[in-house]
């Protein structure tokens, strides 16, 4: 963390970076220009006593900056701060500058619940960008529903949830999984799959969906093994042996955190050269962020299936990557979740402006149908079910730690958090 956490407001950042970013993201694309606070009297846009003044509006950032999850959540915090700075550089929301209160969830779920409650009850924030793990989201969910807050949740996750108080800016499981499986089946001719994951709800649910899809919707395909290891496990030689024995066409890996590093290093050391694609390694859990820890040379040749890669070739993304690097350093990498976190403040801004109000109920009402043509991933749209329509892409891992996009769905994939036939 280069920025002092919990700083209320906008200090501690390089103004130049902010301006560069703000200018880069051309405001005219979708923000109604020249909104002035005077046109939106506070009494009218804030009828429920949120932290909105005549020239500021306060939101919350709730991630872990300490504990085991700090590794993953740092990028999300950075992206959210970048988006806030850029919005402010464009004149803010309804003429009001965004200020933020940052709280540390400390990788501890009750702390998340406690801090969420503090943000909503004490700080009266107008929205919260935050959470990363499913467990932290589950912990804060009752708080957001009870005190009627609005949470923008950035991580790709297992689905099976649809709260009126959450906008899910990452992909739910079917969006992320099905397109990748179909691709590896049609393009690579893969027929047999070995499912592997860390032992918690997201990998288990994702593998459940993958298994249903493979067995019920992909002709002649089968699952030859399914296996889970505790979070933080570092010895994968046994499962690598089992994989050799079963000779699957695809290793479908949803290993997370530090286990990732161990898994890919041991896979490589065991002589499984992923560039030979025998077997093919397909993952939905390794973003560019994780590759930094794994080492690009150790995951060279693997495929990842998600909605965003840093290497995406479009103007929005070029500007986003440049702004992110100029704000946080040239050696930064940006993964799928970081980009999804960046969407949060922008989606909220669009919803507030569409509603003409900061009131949670009105923002919620305005949210479905919000489009974001400036999104680095290209274009997203909020679905009635509070998830995003987005394209799904397959990337090929390169030794330099970046993905080369080898496939993207032609259309936006509809989010389906409660998929029929996959339960």
């Amino acid at each position: 963390m280069t920025n002092s956490a919990n700083s209320k407001g906008t200090n501690g950042l390089s103004r130049r970076a902010v301006l560069a970013g703000g200018a880069a993201l051309t405001a005219s694309l979708f923000a109604p220009k020249g909104l002035r606070a005077a046109d939106f009297p506070t009494a009218a846009v804030n009828t429920t006593g949120l932290a909105v003044t005549d020239d500021t509006v306060t939101i919350g950032i709730l991630h872990s900056v300490t504990g085991t999850m700090a590794i993953s959540e740092t990028g999300s915090v950075q992206a959210e701060k970048l988006a806030i700075e850029q919005i402010n550089a464009q004149g803010g929301i309804l003429g009001r500058k965004i200020e933020y209160v940052q709280e540390d969830g400390a990788s501890d779920w009750p702390t998340f619940a406690e801090k969420a409650k503090k943000l909503l009850v004490q700080d009266k924030v107008a929205s919260v960008m935050g959470c990363w793990t499913s467990a932290s989201r589950k912990a804060v969910l009752p708080v957001f529903e009870q005190y009627n807050g609005m949470l923008y949740y950035p991580t790709f996750y297992e689905g099976l949830e649809q709260s009126p108080n959450v906008i899910y800016t990452g992909q739910e499981a079917t969006q992320q999984i099905i397109a990748g499986l179909d691709w590896v089946n049609k393009v690579k001719g893969a027929k047999s799959f070995y499912l592997l994951g860390s032992d918690y709800i997201w990998p288990r649910t994702s593998n459940k969906i993958a298994r249903k899809h493979i067995e019920n919707y992909m002709e002649g395909c089968k699952v030859v093994g399914e296996e889970y290891y505790p979070l933080g496990h570092t010895q994968f030689n046994s499962v690598i042996n089992k994989i050799r024995l079963k000779k699957p066409d695809v290793i479908y890996a949803i290993v997370v955190g530090g286990s990732n590093v161990a898994f890919y290093k041991q896979l490589k050391a065991a002589g499984i050269d992923m560039t030979k694609e025998d077997p093919i390694l397909l993952t939905i859990s390794v973003t560019e962020d994780e590759i930094r820890g794994i080492g690009g040379e150790n995951i060279d040749g693997a495929y990842a299936c998600m909605k965003y890669f840093q290497s995406l070739d479009n103007d929005n993304n070029a500007e986003f990557v440049a702004a992110f690097k100029s704000m946080w350093g040239e050696d930064m990498v940006i993964g799928d979740v970081t980009q999804a976190a960046y969407l949060g403040p922008w989606l909220w801004k669009a919803a507030v402006e569409k509603a003409g109000s900061f009131d949670i109920d009105k923002v919620r009402e305005a949210s479905p149908g919000i489009e974001l043509p400036t999104a680095p991933e290209g274009y997203v749209k909020v679905h009635e079910n509070h998830h995003l329509w987005s394209k799904t892409r397959v990337g090929l891992a390169k030794p330099d730690g970046q993905y080369e996009v080898v496939y993207e769905t032609a259309e936006l994939v509809e989010p389906d958090p409660f998929p029929e036939g996959y339960q």
Binding site: L245, V261, G293
Partner: protein, 308 residues
């Protein structure tokens, strides 16, 4: 479950699984040796053991960057330099910690546990402030990441062999120091009777400091070696602590041979169970078995003395 495979496939798999067990065994030995010295010989519970290992891993990371930038030609050999530096860095920190904390607490073993836990929190935060919250990627020389194909099916990972050789080497080194050197004699004398050892002219303060330093240094080397197979991050050290203590206690504190025997049995049990069960359940069953046996036989496999 084996009907679908040919005999040669099965043979190959069992050979490889046996080898996986041996790698796990070596990992356990490396993790536990440093602790066996500190806990077994000094009775100090070093809860920061994992953080000393991670210090070794970070030293390796720094050295790999240094070689990558300044001496790319020598990169393939940097690992040996890194291991020596890891030993020195972790050992030096260990001696400092012994001087600052541990020596005041020899009569209160449970308190060393709390103090070193506090130390582990401080070290974690320092790592996070210095190296960032994210894991760092340690680039391993190519020759160490390859594998030796023995047959079509059997491939032996070179880093596995490396870890095994290292485990054997360090065990031998510790054994020689413990049982064939003057220092080892003194350590064992102090372990048996501190006052008497003091009275016969052994410099107990210096010996303690050396012992603690060497124990931490061995942990540093282990951490350095683990960059080949595991991750390097501020909190990665915590993953090792339960396994490590169980290996040492299961072996019977104070017995190096016990530590090795215990590492062997736990690793083989886990490796075999992992093959038949899911990874999570294999881990639970292994730990349960160990705890169960410890309840029946609290002195561990090779006990010198334990009853308190």
């Amino acid at each position: 479950m084996f009907s679908e495979y040919t005999a040669s496939e099965l043979g190959a798999i069992f050979a490889m699984q046996g080898f996986a067990g041996l790698i796990l065994f070596s990992v356990f030995v490396l993790m536990a040796l440093g602790l066996a010295i500190i806990f077994g010989q000094m009775g100090v519970i070093n809860m920061a053991h994992g953080e000393f290992m991670i210090l070794g891993a970070y030293v390796t990371y720094l050295v790999s960057n240094l070689f990558g930038d300044l001496m790319p030609a020598l990169f393939s050999g940097y690992f040996f330099v890194a291991m020596i530096l890891a030993f020195l860095a972790a050992g030096a920190l260990g001696m400092f910690v012994e001087w600052a904390l541990i020596r005041h607490l020899y009569k209160r073993p449970l308190d060393t546990l709390l103090a070193t836990w506090g130390l582990s929190l401080i070290l974690q935060q320092l790592y996070r402030s210095i190296f960032g919250a994210r894991e760092v990627g340690v680039t391993i020389p190519d020759w160490m990441m390859g594998s030796l194909p023995l047959t079509d099916l059997i491939e032996v990972p070179i880093n596995g062999i490396f870890v095994m050789v290292l485990a054997v080497g360090i065990s031998a080194g510790v054994y020689v120091m413990m049982y064939r050197s003057r220092w080892g004699q003194q350590v064992r004398a102090i372990n048996n009777n501190r006052q008497m050892a003091d009275a016969v002219g052994i410099n107990t303060a210096l010996t303690d400091r050396m012992t603690f330093g060497i124990g931490c240094g061995v942990a540093g080397v282990a951490g350095s070696a683990f960059t080949m197979i595991g991750s390097t991050g501020p909190t990665a050290g915590q993953q090792y602590i339960v396994d490590t203590f169980l290996v040492v206690v299961f072996g019977g504190a104070g017995s190096l041979l016990g530590t090795i025997a215990s590492a062997f049995s736990i690793s083989q049990a886990q490796s075999i169970m992992e093959f038949f069960l899911s990874g999570s359940m294999a881990k639970v069953l292994t730990l349960l078995t160990v705890v169960g046996i410890l309840m029946l036989r609290p002195q561990g496999l090779f006990a010198l003395k334990l009853r308190k």
